[in-house]
Amino acid sequence: MVKVFIYPATSLILSDMVARFGHTPLSSATAIRERIQTAGLESPPLQITPEEPKKGLKWAAVEVPAGVRGRMSLYGPMIEACEAAIIINDADLAFGCMGCARTNELIKFLVHQKDIPRLELNYPKNEEDGVKFVAAIKRFLTGLGGAK
């Protein structure tokens, strides 16, 4: 069983696929809904306090916006703990998204810094690409080995 960090971390589909292939998804438990009635697209389900941006200082300096540091207090430990990663670029909002582009840049950079198996795909635009997309993820997860 391998700890797999997923990006977007809010993607329930991706999280479910990782779990189905016997690995542990490292993701947020936030689902993106069709109607947005919260402050952000991926409003945190847990109580974030002003302490979280301070914890985020481990990954981003004080001149980095508080929203980035608050997010990093959640995702930084996941990136540190992960043994593999799947990154989906240009994902549709409905697939899963993370509200802050600067955090997204930092997350992807930190994942790239780790010497771990990594699958990086663009979000499919049509059915044919969709089939290839799912197959590539399946191949990657199967190839990780150690599935429970």
């Binding site: 974030i48 941006p53 916006p65 508080a66």
Partner: protein, 412 residues
């Protein structure tokens, strides 16, 4: 029970900064209710493309879609609060453009704010109060003349001011530095009453504003307790006789600064704050002290100098003071240093705050610092316009309070 004022929040980052509950709390304290305009994912895709600002952060795209929903009337609100992370350039661009867009295409009052994890409800309170005041008290803010015998008190961070008005005329004033809030208030009221030749019992209505408005308002049983953003706007256009059409009000205060874009005497967009005391009247007080002159002499002194000869950056009051000391030690004249200090404060306000409102003429400067002619001159140079300083400009909050309080006279 009155309905809460519905304040639409357009934002990026407050939850992950841990301050969403501070925003909610500030709104609740002044009878407001924060809500997030309900939009669908498809609205975000469509409206973001239509707006045409190609930002990358999805939450900023959401803010754009929500702004369009408000302007197009798909979602109803009484006011708008725009908040994004401090130090985020992408968010700052969106914040400014949304503020401008909403102001140009709707009558919704807007305030924008950039927060850190240290932002508290107390910091946001006056801004939220102004939003709810504009939404709830449009009829009161439309008042153009003062009637009867009223008293206005402005309990500011640096000075306390009182004004007695009768039938649209100022008949008594009182002014002194704020020490003990209640004591200062009682003394300036006594002075204003004595100058007006009336007793407290004759006063028909009382209004308070400024930092000490709640404490003093309760003590003197005020009919109107209202934040200084709306009160000063009203006072400014009233005294400058510009009650109709657009105007911009600038109030460089002792502790913070206000820049307010006004239409028919009612604020549309406003900012309040200041990065550091270096951009406030405090720095000019310090400059006067260091130059060995009274604050009232700083203006005439600065008009004799040329600020360009002295490098000064009052972005931070400590650095500004260092510049001041260095310049004097290097042989700069007091006149040039005074002019440089005025220019520096004006430049900070111009760079930090005036970018957040749309400058529309006439530009009216009010508050005690508007009497420092070097500061007014520097601001006029920066804005390339002639600044209007109305009579009694230092009493602006007190006059605005007395004017608005007359709406509470029983027979009115």
């Amino acid at each position: 029970m009155t309905q809460p004022v519905r304040i639409a929040q357009l934002s990026c980052g407050p939850e992950y900064s841990g301050i969403q509950h501070e925003i909610d709390e500030a709104a609740r304290e002044v009878g407001g209710e924060i809500f997030f305009p309900d939009v669908a994912l498809k609205d975000i895709r469509r409206d973001f493309a239509k707006f045409g600002l190609d930002v990358k952060s999805p939450d900023l795209k959401l803010a754009i879609a929500r702004a369009m929903a408000l302007v197009e009337g798909r979602v109803e609100a009484d006011a708008v609060f725009i908040a994004t992370c401090f130090r985020c350039a992408e968010a700052a661009i969106v914040r400014n453009e949304l503020r401008r867009y909403i102001n140009e295409h709707s009558r919704l009052p807007v305030v924008s704010y950039s927060f850190t994890e240290r932002t508290t409800s107390g910091t946001l309170l006056t801004r939220m109060e102004a939003l709810t005041t504009i939404a709830k008290r449009r009829a009161l803010l439309a008042r153009e003349t003062q009637k009867g015998l009223t008293l206005g008190l402005d309990s500011g961070s640096a000075t306390t001011k009182a004004v007695v008005m009768r039938d649209n005329k100022i008949i008594g004033t009182g002014w002194q530095p704020t020490t003990e809030v209640l004591k200062s208030a009682n003394e300036v009221i006594a002075h204003a009453l004595a100058e007006a030749g009336v007793s407290r019992d004759e006063i028909q209505a009382v209004g308070t504003t400024g930092y000490g408005r709640f404490l003093v308002g309760k003590e003197i049983n005020a009919d109107l307790i209202q934040e200084e953003l709306t009160v000063n706007s009203k006072g400014a256009v009233y005294l400058a006789n510009r009650q109709h059409g657009p105007a911009t009000v600038i109030d460089i205060g002792g502790m913070d600064n206000k820049a307010i874009s006004v239409m028919d005497g009612i604020p549309g967009v406003f900012t309040m704050g200041g990065i550091c005391a270096g951009a406030s009247g405090r720095f000019l007080e310090m400059t006067a002290k260091r130059l060995g002159v009274e604050i009232t002499e700083l203006g005439p002194l600065s008009m004799k100098g040329f600020g360009g000869r002295v490098p000064m950056n009052s972005y931070c009051i400590v650095f500004g003071t260092q510049s001041l000391v260095n310049a004097l030690a290097a042989g700069s004249t007091r006149e040039d240093v005074a002019a440089a200090a005025c220019h520096s404060v004006a430049e900070q306000v111009y760079e930090q705050q005036l970018q957040e409102v749309d400058i529309k003429e006439p530009v009216i400067m009010v508050g005690g610092t508007s009497l420092i002619e070097g500061l007014v001159f520097a601001m006029g140079e920066l804005l390339q316009t002639k600044i209007v300083v109305p009579p009694y400009s230092q009493y602006i909050g007190a006059v605005g309070s007395a004017l608005l309080a007359s709406g509470f006279i029983k027979d009115d």
